[in-house]
């Protein structure tokens, strides 16, 4: 038999707008939290761990359900004692690629972000770090942390590190657009028109590159939430929000930081109007939506973890 010829790398389609391309497969990893298989596994367990919450009712996955695009599709998530916060839960999918976490960017990294929800009174509502660590200790996490981080390593910082490491695996490659951009598959004519339209209209000045966000904070004159200003207190930061990626956006309704817009169609029109002072025709809107739908990638496959638990008694939950 003759030796198999190496497959020629397929050519990207000629009409691919500049900058667009397939989702990167490597995520940035901070030097002080290298990825290891065991750390990712521990992070996964913690991601599904209701013991991070005071009531025992909420895990990260409650609001960022990996079965539904890393969101809960609520306007405002249901949290401790059925409270709801004031911001829509963004997806955790591909969050390792964002320049900063939260709509207002107040957490620089996933490690910082993961320390928030367990103590947030309208989310998981644990009293303090000590309480969370005590519950994890009672559950039997000691040996699991030791295996990953060494002796006496069950602490809040390492919890956040492990969760962040897991989140860095939640990337969604091989969206129809990605296969198209690699010359491996086609997308619909409507989607191709949409792909050109977003360039023509100017969307890609903010939603640029393979991530479909330039990862900057931009003025969005909508609603009463002050965005970055609510963190910095500075007037120049008023109504600045991180440009949301379009990756998996067809799965993450409702839209915007207040979840106030129910459909992707309407979100596209609002964006065109507020950001670019443009009224899109129905046809152009539909084409753009078709294009955005091609950005839904392969969702992460995870084996549902068996959580460590004490034998013969329950962890203590409270309201």
């Amino acid at each position: 038999q003759p030796a198999a010829q190496p497959e020629p790398a397929p050519a990207p389609p000629a009409d691919l707008p500049e900058g667009m391309g397939p989702l990167p497969t490597e995520v940035p990893v901070p030097a002080d939290n290298p990825q290891t298989e065991e750390k990712v596994e521990l992070g996964k367990i913690l991601y599904f761990e209701p013991a991070l919450s005071k009531s025992g009712n909420f895990s990260c996955n409650s609001c960022h359900n990996l079965g539904t695009g890393g969101v809960d599709n609520q306007q405002f998530s249901i949290g401790h004692k059925w409270q709801r916060g004031g911001r829509n839960a963004p997806t955790v999918l591909n969050s390792a690629f964002w320049s900063a976490q939260f709509w207002d960017g107040r957490a620089p990294q996933l490690e910082d972000q993961a320390k928030g929800p367990p103590l947030n009174p309208v989310e998981m509502a644990s009293m303090d770090e000590t309480e969370v660590v005590a519950r994890l200790t009672e559950a039997g996490y000691g040996p699991l942390f030791e295996k990953v981080f060494g002796a006496n390593a069950l602490n809040y910082d390492n919890m956040a590190k492990a969760i962040a490491a897991f989140e860095r695996t939640l990337i969604t490659p091989d969206a129809p657009f990605d296969l198209y951009a690699q010359g491996k598959a086609d997308i619909s004519e409507a989607a191709k028109r949409g792909m050109q339209k977003v360039v023509e209209v100017g969307c890609t000045s903010c939603h640029s590159g393979a991530l479909f966000t330039n990862n900057t904070f931009q003025k969005f004159a909508y609603g009463t939430d002050e965005g970055v200003k609510s963190v910095s207190g500075k007037d120049e930061d008023d109504h600045l929000f991180r440009v949301q990626s379009w990756r998996n956006v067809a799965l993450t309704a409702p839209y915007f930081h207040d979840g106030g817009v129910k459909t992707l169609d309407e979100a596209v029109r609002v964006m065109a109007k507020t950001q670019l002072d443009t009224e899109l025709s129905d046809g152009d809107t539909a084409d753009i939506v078709e294009f955005l739908k091609t950005l839904t990638g392969t969702q992460p496959q995870v084996t549902f973890p068996v959580l460590p638990r004490p034998e013969g008694h329950a962890l203590s939950w409270s309201d």
Copy 2:
């Protein structure tokens, strides 16, 4: 090379009490709901589906978490709008083996049982079957039901059938006791003493056989819940409850139908006192608990399902 000798079947240990043995590997399946791989897969998706609940917050897995022994370790589960019911959530693990479902046996089969929670006002709180079916339709379940049940098959009965088929796969073999009973591994001396003690004291008159339940309803003179009488209205059924299996019991604290007893140790003492008028010594209690711990089996491994969802808009949730 000589042909490999077949491994001799290991002999069960000589001290194994009569009737005790490893968990059966085959579950009873009703003639009108045969197991198929695709049905089980659909059932798994539905088991993790928050769209069975009105608020979008609860799936079966919320209260019967497969990561924590098929329970939530709450006294009374948190349900719609943070309501709590009056009964402790039993495990779904091995439930295919029980003679009837619920503490009072009011659902003859898993198929009947699964129709309850979506409409229970303190659990998932959907208004009626039509509402649940409409939400599943909008989510995109049509083709999934069609593949399993044929054309136009998305209905409430088939939903229950699929969930029941999935539940029939949630069995937990190879507990330390099972390996011991098969002569494959040892258990501690304390556990062996406990194993003899439960026979001597009389526990196994009810908790008998490989399931550690004779699957009958027995008087339990404890608490104010009337058990089977609350269903039948008959005085002779007062305080009758299904004998709970000991399988995985170390994971299912708190104990009894009202979750009123926090530890397995205390549950064992209460049982001895109420059911057998016996005060167990501390040593005997500890030995029995050690034995019960050997009944924790291998927990089911499931791949977390990606749920069908509409593109560009959310399902409608409400309070």
